[in-house]
Amino acid sequence: MTDFMLRAEAVTKDYVVGRNLLGQPARVVQAVRNVSLSIAPGSTLALVGESGSGKSTLGRCIAGLVRPSSGSIHLAGHDVLRLSGAALMSFRRQVQTIFQDPYSSLNPRRSVGDAIMDGMVIHKLYGPQQRRDRMHALLERVGLQADHAQRFPHQFSGGQRQRIAIARALAVEPRFIVADEAVSALDVSVKAQVLDLLADLQAEHQLTYLFISHDLGVVRHFADRVAIMSAGELVEEGECDQIFEAPRHEYTRNLIAAVPRPDPGRRRLRAAPE
């Protein structure tokens, strides 16, 4: 039995939709239903699903941003459902999230350098000069320039903003990163660069990733293990190549079959070209 980085058991998240006149819940939507997962340290688990599958909600429960209705989550040595005080601060250092929309996840009124240093300031890490040095080093590591620190988010493209978000996450030296559709909003070539960056960083810092995505091509390239979700439930889970080559569940099969292949020779929709 290996030492797991993440162990989630029977996680359920209900949302109340609409209340009747007496204020009692009228309808309950189960965004996540009884999902159990584990992730080994240093590896990448991709959480795959279409819209409404609950993958983002599960990701937020795991990151401690949303409270599940029931179940247990143990991550990086913390009981996520019982975090407070020092344990909460420690958790917030070790677990970081990179969000999908590069245009809303950065404070438009905060310079990029300040945003990256925020985590270090909040957790009282290092002295002022060291923070600056680390911030500049991080900017360069993610492919930007040190003198970009005084600039503001609107002066950067989407891909650059995601790099800034990655730098900010790394500043507090986390062990676990939830990438919530972190590359989905990026252009093809930029997506490729950011994925390569994430892969390099994982090796450099021994990071563990929960990679939430709907893009199966990217998932196959990037993940060690894959978990498929549909309508809040975990449909199938397993090693990457195995899931793609021999999916056991019909939903998975349909999902994989629906993905367009970048090869005209294997096209299925229209006749093959000459």
């Binding site: 941003l65 917030r92 677990v95 969000f99 929309d101 404070n107 438009p108 009124r109 900010r168």
Partner: protein, 276 residues
């Protein structure tokens, strides 16, 4: 630069308003140093006169020079309004943002309470308060300021709620930031334009409320001049000589108009930035 200052219909009302206000403020600030006639000096020989060589804007019912009274009145009116807006702003933003971070049930209750205060008619409350407590300047400023704080609170609460739901706020919490940090670094800086616009509108409301109260004799007490108070005392002589009452009335009118024009322009200029 001029293009930037054009209003929505392309007119030049903004630079004109800006110019006018600058003039008023400069006159108010440097007024006493301008070598004007003493605003309290009674010139019994020239009661209610139209402009003359000696009194450039004429005199009031006690023969006091209208130009200097208008300038000193500007000091009073502007200061009262500015101080009241400052108070309303500090109080309103604190309450508004604070309520937004109270937690769902407390927030719902608190905002209903704020709504009650918003619905109070300012002039009546002010009348009652000032009639009982008496009208010295600090009381006046405090009353007007507190009366406009609820509106400020409501507006800032709405905006703070919206900002609270943004992803960069969630990102800050996920970094370990507490509510204090979030309010100071993530929410307030993103509210600057809303606060500026709200302040400009509140300024004109405050000026008008002070003018109204002074007009009724409950605000600034004679012999200290304030535009509203001057209108109040000169209105009785409208048929003797209509000119004197026009001086403070028009001063008030144009100043409030200028502030409104600027407030509208500010909103147009700052809003697309918000939409970004």
């Amino acid at each position: 630069m001029i293009a930037f200052l054009r209003n929505r219909t392309g007119g030049l009302s903004v630079p004109i308003a800006l110019g006018f206000l600058t003039l008023v403020v400069l006159a108010a600030v440097f007024g006493p140093a301008l070598g004007l006639l003493d605003p309290y000096q009674i010139d019994a020989a020239n009661l209610l006169s139209s402009p003359t060589a000696q009194h450039w804007l004429g005199t009031d019912e006690l023969g006091r020079d209208l130009l200097s009274r208008a300038v000193y009145g500007a000091r009073v009116s502007l200061t009262v309004a500015a101080a009241a807006v400052l108070l309303a702003g500090l109080l309103g933003v604190t309450v508004g943002v604070g309520v937004a971070f109270l937690g769902r049930r407390a927030e719902a209750a608190a905002i209903r309470v704020v709504d009650v205060f918003v619905s109070l008619p300012e002039i009546f409350v002010a009348l009652v308060v000032l009639a009982f407590i008496g009208g010295n300047l600090p009381t006046l400023v405090a009353t007007i300021g507190i009366l406009y704080a609820p509106q400020f609170a409501r507006v800032t609460w709405g905006v703070a709620r919206g900002i609270r739901a943004r992803e960069h706020v969630l990102a800050a919490s996920s970094l370990g930031a507490g509510n204090g940090w979030i309010i100071w670094h993530e929410v307030l800086p993103n509210m600057r334009s809303i606060i500026a616009v709200q302040a400009s509108f509140t300024f004109s409301f405050a000026m008008l409320l002070e003018a109204g109260l002074s007009f009724l004799g409950l605000g600034v007490r004679p012999p200290v001049p304030s535009w509203g108070q001057m209108v109040g005392s000169l209105k009785d002589y409208l048929f003797t000589n209509p000119w004197p009452v026009l001086v403070p009335a028009l001063a008030l009118f144009f100043t409030v108009l200028a502030v409104n024009v600027l407030g509208d322009w500010l909103q147009d200029v700052l809003n697309p930035e918000l939409q970004q």
